[in-house]
Subunit: 150 residues, 2 copies
């Protein structure tokens, strides 16, 4: 089965930098909320991206095909890996986010959690709003191309 998130929630970091993952997403991954592990990385946009472990494994298996005797591969893998961390939910369904990552996404206290197909995005509300405003609207060409697969 393919993980497929949807929707949006707003939660708050507590004083220990812990974030509750909305229960609906936890249930999405593991039928019951037993174990629940995410890989969190810095997004291409100024937000954090969280993949459930199974999705992550699919991706890393592919990456392992890259030979480490090519300089560019090492560079790519290094950058990717440095920004990625494995986070396990605690018994209350929270993950402890490192300060480094919070800074990257400009997250202080409030966090918007967006379910996007097979990953979650974590946004600072203000940053998200500004980012949306600055986006170039999608043009007809884009939809034309989109039509090729949809």
């Amino acid at each position: 089965m393919i993980t497929s998130f949807a929707g949006e929630s707003k939660n708050f970091l507590d004083d220990k930098s812990r974030l509750s993952i909305p229960a609906k997403y936890r249930r999405w991954i593991s039928g019951e909320d037993a174990e629940c592990t995410f890989f969190i990385t810095k997004g291409s946009d100024p937000c954090l991206v969280a993949y459930p472990e199974p999705e992550w494994e699919i991706f890393t298996e592919k990456l392992q095909q890259l030979s480490q005797f090519k300089k560019k591969n090492r560079s790519f893998i290094r950058t990717w890996s440095r920004n990625s961390i494995r986070l396990k939910c605690d018994k209350q369904g929270r993950v402890l986010l490192p300060q480094e990552h919070l800074n990257f996404a400009n997250i202080k206290k409030e966090v918007i959690i967006i379910g996007a197909l097979n990953y979650l995005e974590l946004w600072d509300p203000e940053t998200l709003e500004k980012h949306q405003e600055s986006q170039i609207p999608l043009d007809d060409d884009y939809y034309e191309d989109l039509a090729d697969i949809l």
Copy 2:
């Protein structure tokens, strides 16, 4: 199962040149942190590279395919082998790094440990920063090629 490290930590050498391997990586290898053995070698970049024992074995098997009747192969294998040492974690999860290797990677006290798929990289912080700055950014061609496998 494939080993697949991720993330980054900062630890310190103690006065005896011992380095704590972050517990998350030790657990990653052996479900419980029982035995934990690494092969450490000098990287293609100015850092040390640590393979968990099983990964090392896979790698050496591949090396055996190189014909020893080619001068360059002999040279490569010789250099590789000379620089590789087997290090077992002590009961506190530390490995004793030889001075020779520390010098190679320019490691003094602080060590950045990067989990990179099936190996770990050990960096001196300054050296890492300089190295990253001096890298040619990955170009479009690279990502085009990458798209073939991802």
